[in-house]
């Protein structure tokens, strides 16, 4: 394993995208940063620009209007990048599956490395998901 990959495991910078979720997943992602869970212990920080990201946490069932942006977003991310689908809607569109404006789930459009289920997944689940994805490197 190369040094840079090893380092990547120690420093996953997270960029978080909501493609039309009910924003509970997003709150739980933010919750991961806060004192009780503190993902910075593992070197993970939330970044503001996609160019700095190593891990994309994508929640939501992908609405029509978000779809082109989502694809573009994936192109704009510097590789290697890991994509994690968060929540029931992220993985399988969840309860919104039948909505006319929903074109998801996202793995039809971009490669997804891991699915974290739950509505919403607990912060512990999210952390464990990130760690598992990184351990596959």
């Amino acid at each position: 394993m190369s040094l840079t990959l090893k380092a990547l495991k120690k420093s996953p910078w997270i960029f978080h995208v909501n493609t039309g979720a009910c924003n509970n997943c997003d709150i739980e992602i933010l919750d991961c940063l806060t004192p009780r869970f503190d993902v910075e212990r593992f070197g993970a920080v939330l970044v503001g620009s996609i160019r700095h990201a190593d891990v994309l946490l994508i929640s939501g069932p992908v609405t029509k209007i978000c779809l082109p942006r989502l694809k573009r977003l994936y192109e704009q991310a510097p590789k290697p990048i890991k994509v994690i689908a968060i929540g029931a809607c992220g993985c399988k569109c969840g309860i919104f599956r039948d909505g006319y404006n929903i074109v998801g789930p996202m793995d039809k459009y971009i490669p997804v490395d891991a699915y974290i289920l739950g509505c919403p997944p607990k912060p512990e689940t999210i952390i464990s998901g990130i760690v598992k994805v990184l351990s596959t490197l």
Binding site: L3, A7, S49, R51, H52, D54
Partner: protein, 310 residues
């Protein structure tokens, strides 16, 4: 005109290698202390190094509309200048003979180059958010430059020379600048200016993660981002050393001075980090007003006190 030993100085100690490692460790101290203030555990000590190495393995993306050469070259220019500033500071501290008559001015100027290179890099990225960040960085630069220069000049006035050698000798003989009223006031001003120079809260307006999504370095990725971050880390290391040199008797690696030097350094870093963690970000016009208002008046007061002999 070129003594090869300077290349060694520049590359290893106290130049690039030393500064980079020390700077990265400083950013770790920053993150750790911030985490403790926020009731978190914080990252392990090797975190900044892991970040750097990881970024080297990432792809570098140049957006369309940006000039590839310029876009990638600017952070490097900043890095070179920051390293040079560090080297001049450390050499003057460790071997005072290497000082020259104007090095305070030189160092002040050289320390603006990383900021300028960041601005030009952001400008070259042609990203509107980046450009807003760049314009804020520039406004901030000339806002804090005025009080910072006056604060540093209080020392220079007392010493009567721009040379670090003279500054250090003067402090060794007549006590550190912090021992006088004017010195303390000037130091406070300089701390705030440092806060702005290092883009720490409350003056991280150019980066403004939540407003501009990274601001001036929004488009940088991979190795280029690593250089940008390294740049910031080095500046985080250089500025406290500059303050110590100008106001607090400098750094010496002889006998128990080793301990006091490190303590001084850590104390200043912790002050900076604490200010960072107890303040929200201000607006750019407030920042300019702050530096041209209260800080300017304070620094002038320090200068007047220095002229009066306090």
């Amino acid at each position: 005109m070129l003594d090869p030993i300077y290349i060694v100085y520049y590359l290893i100690f106290p130049g690039f290698l030393f500064t980079a490692v020390a700077g990265l460790l400083t950013t770790w101290v920053d993150r750790k202390v911030s985490a403790r203030v926020q009731w978190r555990v914080g990252p392990p000590w090797f975190q900044p190094f892991a970040d750097m190495i990881k970024l080297l393995g990432k792809e570098v993306i140049v957006p369309v509309g940006a000039r590839r050469t310029g876009f990638l070259l600017w952070p490097v220019v900043g890095l070179a200048a920051a390293t040079l500033a560090s080297m001049i500071l450390w050499l003057s501290n460790l071997w005072p003979g290497t000082s020259f008559v104007g090095d305070t001015i030189v160092v002040i100027y050289i320390m603006t180059i990383p900021a300028i290179s960041m601005i030009l890099g952001a400008s070259a990225s042609s990203n509107p958010l980046g450009i807003v960040g760049a314009s804020r960085e520039m406004k901030l630069l000339f806002a804090y430059e005025l009080p910072l220069v006056i604060a540093v000049l209080t020392t220079i006035y007392k010493v009567g020379s721009f040379s670090f050698q003279a500054v250090l000798a003067h402090q060794a003989q007549e006590g550190v600048m912090l021992g006088s009223v004017s010195g303390v006031i000037a130091f406070i001003v300089a701390i705030f200016c440092t806060q702005a120079k290092l883009n720490l809260l409350p003056f991280d307006i150019p980066e403004a993660e939540t407003e501009l999504a990274g601001g001036s370095h929004i488009e940088y990725s991979g190795a280029a981002l690593a250089v940008v971050k390294l740049n910031m880390a080095i500046m985080f290391f250089v500025m406290p050393v500059f303050l110590i040199t100008v106001f607090w008797g400098g750094i010496a690696f002889t006998g128990w001075h080793i301990l006091t030097s490190i303590l001084k350094y850590v104390a200043i870093v912790v002050i900076l980090v604490l200010i960072k963690n107890t303040n929200p970000r201000v607006r750019i016009d407030q920042a300019v007003r702050f530096f041209w208002g209260p800080m300017f008046i304070l620094s002038v007061a320090a200068m007047v006190l220095a002229v009066l002999g306090y």
